[in-house]
């Protein structure tokens, strides 16, 4: 019996060694995905003592244009994890998803400070980019805290103890300690470097940084994206999740369906089709049509479910959604057909497509928001069709974008053109490769 068992083990390992697809899926895919995830998560989870903290873009609109407001802008610009843009349309940038947050410095800012009033700053935020907001808040904290200390003095600590749910009976004593140490605390604050989001993660206290910190810092927080006054309330999570499913699962569907081309070759039906009078491109285009219809149906079912169950506004503006859906289906089908005509066997197609789809989905933001990833990671992702499709679908579902930009909102026309352009290129390549590989056809 042992001889049989050992022979079976040896045989299976031999077959496994000769199966390049199995080798790639077993060893390369985990390495590739581990690298992608590791790199992506290092932005928010820390990557060691020498790793750079996640940098987040912050739009700042200075309506006061005074020395004090300019000093604030300079202080924000000096913060370690912020990329500050001084703009005139902060709200639009947040509304379009270009920035997770924006600070609006209102007119009278300097005058208020001079009068000893708490500065009134507006924090415009995109609820869909919560992680970036967290980073922004922790970067803002030292800057704004210094301002409040300067204007309110030690009395600020009474409010801090209240926010931290310090036991009421002990507050007077604690406040006295804090007041006594005021100079030390101020020094400490000034000397403390900006903390990364991970380092400043909330503790088990009742203090909720996202909810409480803005008020403590004197920020008036307003949602500038997602929930429009003229539309129903939206869920950022559902908008992202269903955009991601529309992108990633569609790729798996079309690659599987495109693989039937290889199946037809193996079973001989492709040859039979090539022997019909209208053979040639008709075979490939027919396959494109059938796979495209299946893919489109998948999107219809997915979006109907998202709208009915999760309230994703799929019918708020049907035209852009229809255009993006059709364009993405065309591109996805072309990707599937391209892989099918390039690969020489179904096993090869399965291995290659799994690797490509998973990595491309991760880099393109279908698995996790790209906002949490390092800058270079986002830059790479922006060249991928998954990112274009994600931006387009998410732009419709969350930001309410149309095809063309308006006075208040960006459009998704660029993403649609990018997808259509790549679809055209892949279609031409697929037709040529198909003709060369499957026919060496007679004219």
């Amino acid at each position: 019996m042992w001889q049989t068992i050992l022979a079976l083990i040896a045989k299976d390992i031999l077959i496994f060694r000769r199966d390049r697809t199995a080798l790639a899926l077993t060893f390369l895919l985990p390495l590739a995905l581990g690298s992608v995830f590791g790199t992506a998560m290092s932005g928010i989870m820390g990557g060691g003592s020498d790793s750079a903290p996640l940098r987040v873009g912050l739009a700042v609109e200075d309506r006061d244009r005074t020395g004090a407001s300019r000093a604030l802008v300079a202080a924000l610009s000096a913060a370690n994890g912020l990329d500050v843009d001084v703009v005139d349309d902060a709200e639009r940038r947040v509304e379009s998803g270009k920035r997770a947050c924006a600070i609006l410095i209102p007119e009278g800012y300097e005058a208020g400070l001079a009068a000893g009033r708490t500065p009134e700053l507006v924090l415009l935020r995109d609820p869909a980019q919560a992680i970036s907001q967290q980073v922004v808040l922790f970067q803002l904290a030292p800057v704004l805290l210094q301002q409040r200390i300067a204007t309110e003095g030690p009395g600020l600590f009474d409010r801090a103890l209240e926010l931290l749910d310090f036991p009421a009976a002990g507050r007077p004593g604690a406040s006295a300690v804090l007041r006594a140490s005021f100079d030390d605390i101020q020094t400490l604050l000034l000397e403390t470097p900006a903390a990364s989001a991970a380092e400043a993660a909330p503790t088990a206290s009742a203090f909720d940084p996202l909810a409480d910190l803005p008020g403590f810092l004197g920020l008036d927080v307003r949602d500038a994206a997602g929930n429009r006054e003229d539309g129903p309330p939206r869920s950022a999570g559902a908008a992202h999740a269903f955009s991601a499913m529309a992108v990633m699962m569609l790729l798996f569907t079309v690659v599987g369906a495109g693989g039937t081309l290889l199946q037809e070759r193996n079973e001989g039906t492709l040859t039979r089709l090539q022997l019909t009078p209208a053979a040639g491109n008709a075979v490939l285009l027919g396959k494109l049509g059938s796979v495209g219809l299946i893919a489109l149906l998948q999107l219809v079912v997915l979006f109907a479910f998202a709208g009915l169950v999760y309230g994703v506004p799929v019918l708020a503006d049907p035209l852009p959604l229809a255009v993006v859906s059709c364009t993405w289906v065309l591109l996805a089908v072309d990707i599937g057909l391209f892989l099918a005509v390039v690969c020489r066997s179904q096993k090869q197609l399965e291995g290659l497509s799994t690797l490509i789809i998973l990595v491309m989905s991760a880099l393109g933001g279908a698995w996790f928001p790209r906002e949490i990833t390092p800058e270079w990671f986002r830059a790479v992702g922006s060249f991928l069709p998954v990112a274009w499709a994600m931006d387009a679908f998410h732009g419709i579902f969350w930001y309410g974008k149309g095809l063309l930009p308006t006075d208040t909102r960006d459009g998704i026309g660029r993403e649609v053109l990018q997808m259509a352009g790549l679809a055209a290129v892949l279609l031409v390549l697929s037709v040529r490769i198909f003709a060369r590989r499957y026919g060496e056809r007679a004219r």
Binding site: E267, R272, L275, A442
Partner: protein, 293 residues
């Protein structure tokens, strides 16, 4: 051998050459097939049978030579030729999840049939394949013989004038094979031109008027069975049978054996096609891929 007049030819091939990279698949094939003729195309694996049929049926181009099928050039007049050509592939080239009728309707439509004509041809095909009762069943549940019969009629829906049959009876039971033979004989009687490739010599003997033997990318010999048997190389090789009794003339060997006291009876029988084939192509194994050759 009698050379048919050019006007009576369904297929005319002169000096056909085809290379795949460095490998020569066809090294100057010359072949003429008359209209209404059933030609058996024989050859060991890698001889060039499949490549020849692929060139004739427009699937691949040629590197040199002249090819004409029904007066059309497969490279130049591909679509026109495919409309008049039927190819029965060696594989069961059918869609398993579809029923027999759905398969036939699909392939009929792919050949441009529609409406009443399509229905008429599908009904004819089901009748011819004796699959009327099973027309609504998925093909994946069919026996090998049923699939073969459907595979054959699926290539005849559009009424081709020339039909290439590539081992159409592979892996079927004797009854199904006989049914297929009868169907193919019906095609011959209907005046279709057939090229039939197989490794079963008996099938060619039964179905074909003439036989072409291919080897190493060339036609080694063409003729009727009697003509092939009368070829000097074949006839002279009859002595090879003496290898069984000493490598000399059987009668002489028999006499020698008798003289030595053996009781010997000498039986002679005419060449069968298989022995002719082996004489012409040799006995060495050919393990090249058929699709490559």
């Amino acid at each position: 051998m009698e050379v048919p007049p050019e006007t009576a030819l369904a297929i005319r091939v002169v000096g056909l050459e085809k290379r795949y990279g460095e490998r020569v698949a066809l090294a100057g094939v010359d072949l003429r097939v008359q209209k209404g003729e059933a030609l058996g195309l024989l050859g060991p694996n890698g001889a060039g049978k499949t490549t020849t049929l692929r060139v004739l049926s427009t699937l691949v181009g040629r590197d040199a030579g002249e090819v004409s099928v029904l007066g059309l050039d497969p490279e130049r007049d591909g679509a026109q030729l495919r409309a008049r050509l039927g190819v029965v592939p060696q594989e069961i080239a059918l869609y398993g999840p579809l029923t027999a009728r759905e398969n036939l309707r699909f392939f009929g439509r792919a050949h441009g049939l529609a409406g009443a004509r399509l229905t008429e041809r599908v009904d004819w095909a089901l009748e011819a394949a004796s699959l009327v009762d099973r027309s609504g069943d998925a093909v994946q549940g069919f026996s090998g013989g049923m699939k073969r019969r459907l595979n054959l009629v699926a290539s005849l829906l559009h009424g081709p004038e020339v039909v290439f049959l590539d081992e159409p009876t592979a892996g079927v039971d004797p009854q199904s094979r006989n049914h297929l033979f009868e169907m193919i004989e019906g095609l011959c009687k209907a005046g279709l031109t057939l090229i039939y490739t197989t490794h079963q010599m008996g099938e060619v003997e039964r179905l074909c008027n003439r036989i072409a033997v291919m080897d190493q990318g060339r036609i080694a010999a063409v003729g009727t069975l009697a003509e092939l048997a009368a070829l000097p190389a074949v006839r002279g090789n009859a002595g090879a049978r003496l290898e069984l009794v000493g490598g000399r003339d059987p009668a002489e060997a028999a006499n020698l054996l008798r003289g030595a006291g053996f009781d010997v009876e000498l039986h002679t029988r005419p060449h069968d096609l298989e022995s002719i084939f082996l004489v012409l192509t040799g006995r060495a194994l050919r393990d090249e891929s058929e699709t490559d050759g």
